[in-house]
């Protein structure tokens, strides 16, 4: 839990170009406050409607062929974020 006296840490989310191409004017890097990966994706969705839906499904979970790394370590929605963490969103191997 975070509150007014204990703001969520500031983190940097880095998005793949193939994802930002789906949204006009979506930057590749977005700084936001989030205590977990789930909060970070919710903050992305609030800032750019529809963006969170491309990363997470309704389970809710990170989509099967998406990957999120927090500080270089593979993360899930519950992964906690420390101040300054780089949250890297990537596309996994897929297609045919």
């Amino acid at each position: 839990m975070t509150g007014m006296d204990d703001p969520a840490p500031l983190v940097l989310v880095v998005l793949p170009a193939v994802l930002t191409a789906l949204f006009p004017c979506c930057p590749r890097e977005i700084e936001l406050r989030a205590a977990t990966v789930g909060e970070a994706i919710a903050a992305l969705e609030a800032r750019i409607p529809g963006l969170g839906d491309r990363i997470c499904d309704s389970t809710p979970a990170i989509r099967r062929h998406m990957r999120v790394f927090a500080g270089g370590v593979r993360a899930d929605l519950a992964t906690r974020l420390a101040p300054g963490t780089e949250v890297l969103v990537m596309t996994a191997i897929s297609g045919g």
Binding site: V18, L19, G50
Partner: protein, 360 residues
């Protein structure tokens, strides 16, 4: 502005648009659109000229794409296109249909959504997933998909859907409740004595005859059928066809007795055109007799198939007929199937074909 005929293609790698004048020759190709996402169904709404494309990306999930300028620019949305938390998520959109000012979307795993704002926001019509037979539905080869979506042209409360492999269902209350409508259709993949169940049939494609809303045709995994009572009873019309197996069916724009099929050689024989010779099979008498339409189609070494949504007609007179192959070719006829030409080739596998005629 002159008449423009657009053939809308959903492919494994994006949407494409073929365009020609009313002579329907000299096709020009545009695409791929939709960032090369697999697009299961691309349709044009004749009331507005808007093009919608439904599909799903293995990375980014399901969405419906929309173009209000005949494919020049596109946006996408999946807002509300989701089941409840904890349920198996929507994987892809499989079918789209406009009706009574709304847009409907059938999805995998099988369910139905409705948009009242042109595909920007979606609501789940939960009655389909809540059907008491739902726990017993089995997926077909393409998954548990709601692939055929047939709104009644006058009654906004009535919709028919086809689900592989749950069968045909009908609602008379806008999607709150549904009843299976499969009486008379076979399930050859069931043990003897259980081949005419109430549900569980592998319907491949369901279409409605023009001007006769109670006349439905379906190409099934196990036979070809016609119903003249809204799907309550089905009669086999496969006598005279080279095979009981195929995927697509397309109705004529004005004649309820004319139907086009593209039978394949069988579900265990490779699923390509019989004898490796391509033919569209046409009936002019609601399935009593069939004619093979071959002129201009490859008559040797044709080992392609045609998928369930990959055949369509246009509304011109004489009607155009089109089909797209699993090997990425689009064949067109401007004379109701009498003669054919290849309008495009070397495309990705074609998943759907629809038409939109504008201007003129």
């Amino acid at each position: 502005m002159g008449t423009r005929v657009l053939v809308l293609l959903g492919t494994k790698k994006g949407a494409f648009i073929l365009e020609a004048g009313p002579e329907r020759r000299g096709w020009e190709l545009r695409g791929p659109f939709c960032e090369t996402w697999p697009m299961n169904h691309v349709i044009g709404d004749p009331a507005t000229g808007t093009i919608f494309a439904g599909g799903g990306s293995a990375w980014f999930g399901p969405a419906v794409w929309r173009s209000g300028d005949l494919g020049v620019t596109w946006t996408h949305s999946s807002a509300g296109l989701a089941y409840a938390e904890g349920a198996e998520p929507v994987k892809a959109v499989w079918s789209l249909a406009p009706g009574h000012g709304a847009l409907y979307a059938g999805v995998e795993p099988a369910g139905l959504f409705r948009s009242g704002d042109g595909g920007q926001g979606w609501e789940h019509l939960a009655g389909m997933q809540a059907h008491p037979t739902r726990p017993h539905w089995q997926p077909g080869g393409a998954g548990l998909i709601l692939h055929s979506l047939v709104p009644h042209p006058e009654d906004s409360q009535r919709i028919w859907v086809g689900i592989s492999a749950a069968g045909v269902f009908h609602t008379a209350d806008g999607g709150r409740t549904w009843e299976p409508r499969n009486q008379g259709t076979r399930s050859d993949f069931m043990p003897e004595g259980q081949r005419y169940p109430a549900f569980g049939q592998c319907v491949h494609c369901l279409v409605m005859a023009p001007g006769m809303p109670e006349r439905l045709y379906q190409q099934n995994h196990c036979g070809m059928y016609r119903s003249d009572d809204g799907g309550v009873h089905w009669d086999s019309i496969e006598a005279g066809l080279p095979s009981s197996f195929g995927f697509p069916a397309a109705v004529h724009p004005r004649d309820p007795a004319t139907l086009y099929l593209l039978p394949l050689n069988g579900d265990t024989a490779g699923r390509y055109v019989p004898g490796a010779r391509a033919a569209v099979w046409r009936t002019r008498d609601a399935g009593a007799t069939w004619q093979a339409c071959r002129a201009g189609l490859p008559q040797q070494n044709a080992f392609f198939g045609v998928l369930r949504q990959a055949m369509a007609t246009d509304r011109l007179d004489p009607a155009g007929v089109y089909f797209g192959t699993s090997s990425g070719s689009l064949y067109a006829s401007a004379d109701e199937g009498e003669t054919w030409h290849c309008a495009a080739q070397h495309l990705p596998a074609i998943l759907s074909v629809e038409t939109l005629v504008v201007g003129g």
